[in-house]
Symmetry: C2
Subunit: 247 residues, 2 copies
């Protein structure tokens, strides 16, 4: 295992130890998982603590700090898109009572910038800040279908990870699905991630008409998707208008 020689590279390697499955870690764990020598890790952690990028709990374990939360909240996805979209996401949540998600594209992945869910909602696989492959999610299909041509070709040439027997797993199937999304103007992801859910997704456009995000509702398979589709599409349009889009 090679660690970066640059200090910033090391700092980000260290921060990458934190995941949703490992939201906190001891100094030794940080050293072990990052590959950085213990004393280097110790010094780096001390600096990150000083800058509030990390914080330490009473048991001595380290967590991502509030400063990164604050900075992250200034990113375009959070500050611009989320703040404008939130009222419409809430409306969609209220009329459907199912998980509502807002996501942007980063490379060949979806990054969720918001998720509204109920206590007894059907699926809790995604979370604010989490990632999923484009090909396997409703929002991902929408974002990919309207992405630049070279992004689509890149996704079609990449391995398509399989989650269930329904996951799109050949370039041919994906190409066909993308064409369907572009024709229809929305996507229905059928049991691609979990065998018990559909995801119904619609595009969100900016003032230039580019698709910059996607909104979706995740419903149990017993739900008829056409009962939520109009609401999802209306929500996508409402957010688009809030972003300055004119049809």
């Amino acid at each position: 295992m090679s660690v970066p020689v640059s200090l910033l590279g090391r700092a980000f390697t260290l921060l990458a130890v934190f995941t949703a499955d490992r939201p906190c870690a001891t100094l030794s764990e940080l050293s072990r998982h990052s590959g950085l020598p213990l004393s280097t890790t110790h010094r780096l952690v001390k600096d990150l603590l000083a800058h509030r990028a990390l914080e330490r709990d009473a048991d001595g374990r380290f967590w991502i700090g509030l400063r990164l939360y604050e900075l992250g909240a200034l990113s375009p996805g959070a500050l611009d898109l989320r703040e404008r979209a939130l009222p419409y996401l809430e409306d969609l949540f209220e009329v459907t009572r199912h998980n509502v998600q807002l996501a942007v594209r980063d490379g060949l992945e979806v990054v969720y910038v918001e998720r509204l869910s109920a206590v007894d909602a059907v699926s809790i696989l995604t979370r604010m800040g989490s990632r999923m492959p484009l090909h396997a999610t409703g929002v991902g299909l929408v974002l990919l279908a309207f992405a630049p041509h070279e992004v689509q070709e890149e996704a079609l040439a990449a391995p398509l990870k399989r989650f269930t027997t329904h996951t799109i797993s050949t370039p041919k199937a994906l190409r066909s699905a993308l064409a369907t999304v572009r024709r229809d103007g929305y996507a229905i992801s059928d049991r691609q991630i979990e065998p018990i859910t559909y995801s119904v997704a619609a595009p969100v456009r900016n003032s230039s008409g580019d698709v910059v995000a996607a909104v979706s509702v995740v419903v149990p398979v017993e739900t008829r998707t056409d009962t939520v589709l109009p609401a999802v599409r209306a929500c996508g349009r409402a957010i688009s208008r809030a972003m300055g889009w004119r049809s």
Copy 2:
């Protein structure tokens, strides 16, 4: 103006140029506002871009990048508190139809970790990730009233910034208000930030019974606070239970 000599210090000084009022900046602006020489700024920005901590738009301006959003979403406030609290916040939003906020304490400030609001809600002064002084907000009063004794004394000894003629601005008034909050078990902030709103806030406790967050509703002054108070308090209790609290 003195800039840090350490690389991490410089990186964070640079990132501090980004605020809600200046969410993006050019290279020259970053250099000017951070005090770092132009070529140092350029090199640092290039590294931060490589690590996705910054991103660049089509006009060449820099923004906080998705990587910081992802990392920030792993912080305890976002990952643990927010995810557990969200369904109850949504319930509170639904029954009150007013701005709902969830906040934690950081030093002598409140940091908002979630805000749900409607298109026509009365106040939009706060935002995910933003800060306010403890003494002047409902959630701040709650967090301070139940904070360790030395934190309370520190707040009482610090300057109390005034926002309106109603803002608590003397240590005597603050001490009295804190006693009231502790006695009542909730806080009502009367026109302290804006002359048109009240904030009604209640504590959120963890499994050890410590107050680790506060939830509030912001309502117009024409609203009788006792119409929303029970719902806010119930919400605080529900989130506390989700955090493992036992009464």
